[in-house]
Symmetry: D2
Subunit: 275 residues, 4 copies
Amino acid sequence: MQIREGIVLGSEKPVLFAGPCAVESLDICLEIGSKVKAWAEEHGFSYVFKASFDKANRTSSGSFRSIGMDKSLEVLQKVGKELNVPLVTDIHESYQAAEVAEVVDVLQIPAFLCRQTDLLLAAGNTGKAVKIKRGQFMAPEDMQFAVKKVRSTGNENVCLTERGFSLGYHNLVVDMRGLPIMRQFAPVVFDITHSVQQPGGQGGSSGGQREFAPFLARAAAATGIDGFFIETHPEPAKALSDGPNLIPLHRMGDFLKMLKESWELGRKYQDFAVE
Amino acid sequence: MQIREGIVLGSEKPVLFAGPCAVESLDICLEIGSKVKAWAEEHGFSYVFKASFDKANRTSSGSFRSIGMDKSLEVLQKVGKELNVPLVTDIHESYQAAEVAEVVDVLQIPAFLCRQTDLLLAAGNTGKAVKIKRGQFMAPEDMQFAVKKVRSTGNENVCLTERGFSLGYHNLVVDMRGLPIMRQFAPVVFDITHSVQQPGGQGGSSGGQREFAPFLARAAAATGIDGFFIETHPEPAKALSDGPNLIPLHRMGDFLKMLKESWELGRKYQDFAVE
Amino acid sequence: MQIREGIVLGSEKPVLFAGPCAVESLDICLEIGSKVKAWAEEHGFSYVFKASFDKANRTSSGSFRSIGMDKSLEVLQKVGKELNVPLVTDIHESYQAAEVAEVVDVLQIPAFLCRQTDLLLAAGNTGKAVKIKRGQFMAPEDMQFAVKKVRSTGNENVCLTERGFSLGYHNLVVDMRGLPIMRQFAPVVFDITHSVQQPGGQGGSSGGQREFAPFLARAAAATGIDGFFIETHPEPAKALSDGPNLIPLHRMGDFLKMLKESWELGRKYQDFAVE
Amino acid sequence: MQIREGIVLGSEKPVLFAGPCAVESLDICLEIGSKVKAWAEEHGFSYVFKASFDKANRTSSGSFRSIGMDKSLEVLQKVGKELNVPLVTDIHESYQAAEVAEVVDVLQIPAFLCRQTDLLLAAGNTGKAVKIKRGQFMAPEDMQFAVKKVRSTGNENVCLTERGFSLGYHNLVVDMRGLPIMRQFAPVVFDITHSVQQPGGQGGSSGGQREFAPFLARAAAATGIDGFFIETHPEPAKALSDGPNLIPLHRMGDFLKMLKESWELGRKYQDFAVE
């Protein structure tokens, strides 16, 4: 999946999609983006800045959603220019695709929406790269149909993202078999921080288990995949969403070093077969 | 939840939402609607005609979606008038809410979309009754937040619908505990035919286990609930979607008789407690 | 499954297996057994007294296990004679089968052990009726192999029992489809109180949700089954095991009345098909 | 966990438990054991020969169980002496513990039996090392109680083994979070070949997905664990049990090389934390 000239998911270089969960402010986006960019370069990742312009499916309506779509997109655009990095953000309804595509390089389809045909087609029709998250209710092999919906628009720039499957209530499990299965259809990104989310596990908001992120990250990388997605914040406890599963910004450099080594192991053995 | 004057979900009379899966044609809608209406009256159900104007989340894009939104709504309107029955249909994006609300009495929020705040608010804002399906990934108690999102618009006419939880891949299970749990927040409808669906279980389309529908229907009714949702077709094998789980139209009369007796048992004992 | 002359699981009369979880003392067994026997007769159930002589798989070893196997069997025997009721109890290792079979009428195979070939064969070889609980990890259709193992001894007196499937950690779900599936192989009993257990959900012991027992009981009965299993205690909070899911003894009469009506509904419609 | 002098699970050197699923014959055990031993030494593993003397919980009773307990133990003993390797085998009932402990170095408790108190105590009382498999129905943190049961005998030589959790019917998922969770209580072994089993997935016997074994093996190793369990056979299609998930013997050398590198990555980062 080509993101920009020279930035390709599924190439010799892993891609890192990272940033705060939501566009909280220009300052915090620049702080996070500039630091992560430097670490990404140091450890050999292509970097794509991520932030959501709208948290459209919060557990309860009392939670923070957005500083406004227009203002968020403006911030994203400034971050992209100032840091010279590509951008990724989610869209939630088909009417948003064209407008958001003017600002970002990658349109992300949220997991709950991975079967919404109109949204997939609208994203595909923008010509921008499309990153689809696997629904928490979808068998890995069934994600091929989401990929095909995007490709039916003539847009081949599509990838899949793993973020856990429903294992009973308020809990997700990452089935590592899903990574090689989905990789048959498109390049695969592992979403490290949403995979340790506990949906609705704290009453009106979702909980998280940040402490398991390094374990799942190494495990997924070692299977052999193409990229990673991480949400980070200088002060997770003060983040406006997903605090319990964010990686503290000050740990991101070391995290990326570990991740790169794990990715190299996975890359070396990705085609190892036992037959 | 008041659907029309005198038609209340959560009253002395169970409500039946039933019809074909999709608006296939006016003729077939009238055939199904008129027969089901007669049986519903015979067995003591309030009847609401159901058909989707668009199948927006089919597994693969090669499947039938719609005869067109405008044409479908026109058909729905004619059915409603000709049979003098209220109507329910799904909406998938927030822009559809107002337009669809001009035609139908109940807006249904699909299971995958039960956390989409904008969609819930748009539905609530129409003032029409809103029927929310529980996501295949949502703990029953977390559905209270979806209800609250609708109620935050000032619209109290809202209900919840059970249709199965992800039990591994390609399989759904109905957790009967979820019915009394959700009933604490709003009246509850049991979706008999989608609860026996097998998501993506047949390659590019979903499978189904129609043979279990009578068992699950009796079980859910016996717990004590407010209404039922059934998709039916004169020739399930020829239906344009969900064929494997539809109830053959010729069995609907007997099915409703059985359902009513089961509902009466549930109603009698719905408050039975062991403490 | 013939339990004693005139007491047949899978006949015109439902069978109730009920009693305290463990053999705590003769007095408490007689108190529970005599009361339940009277209510069972009043409401039209055949009654089998149940109590475990050993809780062999408690979550932690600090929990109560037994007053001793010999003493427990002695108590069971006295209860059987004094109340003139058949008896059921669990066995855990094959060497126990013959000895226990001298005292009880039905040998119960615990859910965790439902695949242990030696245990099933030993139970079958006693000639006594064998009641196998479905493992929390077993697909309903795979229980046919457990039934076949018992039948391979020439013993046709075998039944299956539903008690929930693992739905993630610390939680069980009753898949009501499993009841008609298992009934193809043998008569089926629904274990009402273990189905609302929460395995290991309270640290070193299992929790329970007694409040859902009436809902699940009506639901399972309405599908159409052959018998019920209930653990009860005059003071659940003081019971030596499984307290959180026991039915208080003083509610058993009303519970059985409700259960019988539900069973009659299930029986009436057990063969209702939609094809 | 000390297995023999100088062979310690949870040390600087990973431990490999490997061999055929069942004791089929002395010749095949020697062929497998000698080859695996050489590769284990080459790649830096301590080696423990594994074979079951009895397959006590086969799906159906028509499947191969054993060449006889006595004969199997005799074969095991000869293999141990001839190859000078420690031995591990399963026990299924408490009476077997003492007899089997005379022959083997490690007693393995099968997953279905991980809550059977008598079996755990009998194993612990032999003084031999005890290897407990996590039940397919057990939350990882609840395995601490199984460990405590063994330790209550005064035997500290105990370890835990991961082999997948029930993800719906006929399917298992390895939750990689479970490995660091269980490691808080005891050293942890990853059972590579049973983790790709599909229980009962082929009618009267279990299926398997050997093709995923390398992916899960790298993933688990990368989290940071102590040992591995692998079943192998020169001709998996002819193996008397578990054929579909066995690793072909001729791939074991390369497999171990890959596994060692993965283990080293996990070891390097096992204490990496994000707080």
